[in-house]
Symmetry: C2
Subunit: 379 residues, 2 copies
């Protein structure tokens, strides 16, 4: 809990909910007839409606990106380090919109919502959604908010994929795309880690084919394992080494399976436990699938430059040296394609030990460059 | 099945079993009063008993390292590419001993063996064994075979740790140590991956606290997940990319959770399935613990050079460029410590795309150097 709201915070914020009754056709071939999106806004939309910035969240993210819901909230929104007055995404200049994606578990329609056809939670019957579907749903939210064109669409990791997709799906509606710690598509290794996470959830006896809510249980073990393996890929080997090394949990080794011997084991178990009690297993499956499916070059014979050729936005691409989930080489692929497609692109490779998670961390060099790029955007 | 035994094979081999009635005190504080080790030998022990080479296996390995048990065997032993007449470990020169370690599930006493105190399988009551314990048990096998001193102790990965431990536990009994794709201790990330694997097994409802055998079940899902996550760490990102890329299993995407979309998912599931039906879950737990605990420098204030100072062996250390489980940097730590301790050490970093698994693969440059080192060992 903050004793007082910091001066560079967007302060107290409240989520809003927007209902959509117009059917949304999805990439999977199915249609959502009715859905809602929960979102927050920070800053003020200017008279020209030219200063709107969309924040796209990553795998386990949500709409609460900055500020505090109340004074008892222990931590501010997940990207508070980058969103606020005077920050990289300066709310004195920008009107910032941050939503929870369709299929999420934080207030937007998703697997834990009631399926109007059955009166029960969707569970596993919720359709698989893709990055393109999300962008389409975000465009409808923009319509409702009266935002014809975003000054910028910004995201890290899976959020960066949405930012890129915006420039391809709605070229006229994005002036700038900021893709941080992202990739143009998952590698086989990325998919493999996702598959382990999915199998952990799917094989949990409490998963019940995705209809666990009706039985008042959750596939806690599976979700915990999924998060543990995910978490390892968010941190660099170095970062884990610095944070935990081979530090022991107690003074001496116990030589059994039930004791926690090393601090890193204790940390991972805690992360898994905590996550499994707050996140929906079906949403986790959906999010990993959206990651797997994203591959805009696929329709262009694997030519990413061609896929990006219709974009009208300028681009800012940022990567982190020790990120091995989406390494700098993956950002190079994006930058190379943008250059080949004759787009304006700024690229920054930040020397940072934190791995993939770096995009959430207030690293001075990163914030400076991010702020520099955002500040030069005319509104 | 080979249509005929290849000329450079050790041919048909049969395992032997040795019983030990002398109690073995273990690092965990417990004692094994009675145990057996299963092993194979290839080549002939010379009159001077100076040509014996010990092979130490890795996590899921066993005694059957070369040749065929019968003509119907689909594949030869796991290191057949390196052991045989004219091969890196030349059975025309060397007498090769390969055993299944204590705690294993291929014939040596382990969790699936009968506990003489209860008449039931040990299960989770089998004591935690360490690399040092294994080396002690291997020394007793050497005594039985009349081998006072090994010409070389050789191993990859966890096997390399045993080879190094031999030079510290029994300096007079090892002339050469060959440690391939190994590390002086696990990193926090290595331990973290092991912990995910263990939690997958421990949290499987069919694990029953390690006493699943008595209930005639196996924690198949947990073991499958453990193997899947392990398997990812054995392959390089590049190798997975080359082998599978984003290749689809069928012609088009299915957009659901139950279908296998990508080939890499299918491969991983197969690997996990296959492993879970042949490997013991308690043994898997034990092996990952032995990896975690190995840290010979710990007793010397983290000074590996000091830990290795009493060794009398010469060393050959080999690493592979794309191995990210035990990267070349981990081998550099070994080499640096050996140089600081004024030991003779040859080091080779093999440019290989296969990741950690490279040590099992007949890569020409690797085999050439390995053979070169072994050939110069006087017998």
């Amino acid at each position: 809990m903050p004793t007082a709201i910091p001066a560079d915070s967007v302060g107290l914020v409240s989520p809003k909910v927007e209902h959509f009754a117009e059917p949304l056709a999805l990439a999977c071939g199915r249609t959502l007839n009715d859905y809602q999106l929960i979102y927050e806004t920070y800053g003020e939309l200017n008279a020209a409606r030219s200063n709107a910035v969309l924040i796209c969240h990553a795998l386990s993210g949500h709409h609460h990106a900055a500020g505090f819901h109340d004074l008892n909230e222990r931590k501010p929104g997940w990207w508070d380090s980058c969103i606020g007055p005077g920050k990289a995404i300066d709310t004195n200049r920008f009107f910032v919109v941050s939503l929870n994606n369709l299929g999420g578990c934080n207030g937007s329609t998703g697997p834990s919502s009631t399926n109007p056809l059955t009166g029960k939670p969707y569970g596993a019957d919720f359709p698989v959604v893709t990055v393109e579907d999300w962008v389409n749903s975000q465009a409808r939210l923009a319509n409702v908010l009266g935002i014809e064109q975003w000054a910028a669409v910004v995201g890290g990791s899976l959020g960066g994929m949405q930012a890129m997709q915006w420039t391809m799906s709605y070229p006229e509606r994005v002036r700038h795309c900021v893709a941080i710690a992202s990739a143009p598509k998952l590698s086989a290794q990325n998919i493999a880690f996702n598959e382990v996470a999915r199998q952990a959830i799917l094989s949990d006896p409490e998963f019940h084919g995705g209809h666990f809510q009706e039985r008042n249980v959750i596939p806690k073990r599976g979700l915990m394992l999924a998060r543990m393996v995910g978490h390892i890929t968010y941190l660099s080997d170095d970062a884990m080494g610095t944070k935990f090394g081979r530090g022991l949990k107690s003074e001496k080794l116990n030589y059994d399976f039930n004791s926690v011997e090393f601090q890193v084991e204790s940390y991972l178990r805690y992360q898994g436990e905590e996550f499994s009690s707050r996140f929906d297993a079906n949403t986790y499956l959906l999010m990993t699938k959206a990651l797997d499916y994203f591959d805009p070059a696929a329709a262009y014979n694997d030519d990413l430059a061609k896929a990006l050729s219709t974009a009208k936005a300028d681009f800012c691409v940022i990567s982190f040296t020790t990120d091995w989930r989406f390494s700098p080489e993956r950002s190079h692929e994006i930058v190379d394609a943008l250059m080949a497609a004759r787009k304006n692109v700024c690229y920054l490779e930040v020397d940072a030990p934190q791995g993939h998670d770096a995009f959430l961390i207030p690293i001075p060099r990163y914030l400076q460059a991010f702020r520099g790029y955002m500040n030069r955007i005319a509104v």
